[in-house]
Symmetry: C2
Subunit: 329 residues, 2 copies
Amino acid sequence: MPEIRKDPVFGRWVIVAAERGLRPNDFHPDQGKDGSNCPFCAGREGSTPPTLYSLPGPGGAWRLRVVRNKYPALISGGSPENRREGIYEHMDALGIHEVIIETPEHGLRLEEQPGEAIADVLKTYILRVKEIKKDPGIKYVMIFKNHGRNAGASLLHPHSQLVGLPMSPIRVLQELNGAKQYFFENGSCVFCDIVREESAFEKRIVAQNADFLAITPYASRFSFEMWILPRAHNSHFEDMPEAAAGALAGVLKTVLSKLATSLKDLSYNLIVHTMPVQEPAAENYHWHIEIMPKLSHVAGFEWGTGFYINTISPEAAAEILNSGKSFTL
Amino acid sequence: MPEIRKDPVFGRWVIVAAERGLRPNDFHPDQGKDGSNCPFCAGREGSTPPTLYSLPGPGGAWRLRVVRNKYPALISGGSPENRREGIYEHMDALGIHEVIIETPEHGLRLEEQPGEAIADVLKTYILRVKEIKKDPGIKYVMIFKNHGRNAGASLLHPHSQLVGLPMSPIRVLQELNGAKQYFFENGSCVFCDIVREESAFEKRIVAQNADFLAITPYASRFSFEMWILPRAHNSHFEDMPEAAAGALAGVLKTVLSKLATSLKDLSYNLIVHTMPVQEPAAENYHWHIEIMPKLSHVAGFEWGTGFYINTISPEAAAEILNSGKSFTL
């Protein structure tokens, strides 16, 4: 069973999950990328845990499926107890780990699907969060998508992941604290102010519609990093009105298409940043999506300092993405 | 000129350095790995900035050279002023960025050098830190080494880097605060306690001698992560007695050799963790070296949460390293 160990200096948590080392990897030299062994393809439903939720496709087939992760980082059914080993602390890695298989087709990338199908993926995120948060022991639901080898994906077949956690993770708390501090100092939501500032400045906009704005953020850590912000203030992703899913799908399709056009062999992490699920709506936090293309590798300086070095300014990145030109490192 | 931008939510700093995008890259498909264009090889001294320091080799040649980084992340000569752009803040990226070319030989990895030569590299770190800290404007000196493509290295030729910063970076402050908190709660240095605990437990030890202990730490973020700790308490790396450099070189040679034996195509970041250079010796902090092999890619869950998922326990990692067996993912 996976366990969580606490670093005695940093307080940093590490999940030691030996079982995950056994998961299939499309990027391993011994495995094919053609999908001939892919557990997420249509017809291979028996190689995943049972379906938790699905959407029907043509001819009785499914077009989207949600399953438990077969190689979970966190699992239900352990003890919530904190245990000591000498000066160290550890506990069972309690939680929920689900996979959303976005399509039965092995090679159909999210942005290649029609807008309505992308909206269905987003609506499924919302539905699963609402289901998972019924358990009062789950404090945070992390929704993310790893695409491509450099982003840590192990399977090529388009999928997203949901992790329900028994506590709010440190990075989420740091972001909430930063937003709270900004609200305290300025009397306004920092993300609302970013939407206003970027709408006026224009040069970092990559896509927009009446409900959403996609920008290359001012202090982009990664070249071509992108944030998608709802224009209306809302702290919880899962409280997004159902109707807005279509508008978000449209912006997401545009930005992922622009990234795929400009960057060859694109790898990216997509992360939904949202409030802890058991907390009430807040005026100082604003959910949003962060997309981090991985063109280069994080190196010693970044690991040691927590600073990032970005060799392409966000203004240059927006210009390249909007030009439709392809970019080579 | 590179600039530092501050993220308005996190307070996170990002260095936007377009010039660094122009640096040569041995891992680029258009470039050779044979060293035929390598700026760090003997005979190509004209392709780097002038020598700041060197050690003489046989026949009037050099065997170690220190130069300014030609594509620096930080540079001297800008303004220390903080400037506003709407809701955002930025400043010139002030600092020092040096490269230590560890050998004139393109393919001679650090652990393949004799112990005395490794000790010379370490003594050079100390010498340069002592030189750089004479400028009271430099608050922190980050010493690190990126080896291999997955660790973010752009050149194969063995080299280390030193960055002098006008402030202590956030990750350093978090570590110092964690150690301070531990001292407050336990009345002892957390690293001294780790040395004691690990010496007794034995199963995470990879190398040791009278002065240093190398372990796979209890809450390893990365598979085969390793820490080298001096047994004697000392907060500042540069205050290490000259005689200890030989002992440290011995342990470093052993652990890097074990990593290279067990892991094919090894990539790693080596980072010296030490106190801010202008601060006095402290009883609650203890310098050490962290080595982070990069076998897998940091993915969305890690980026979103700040947690790490490690699929090989530190006990299993130590066993593999000490067995001399090679490991395949």
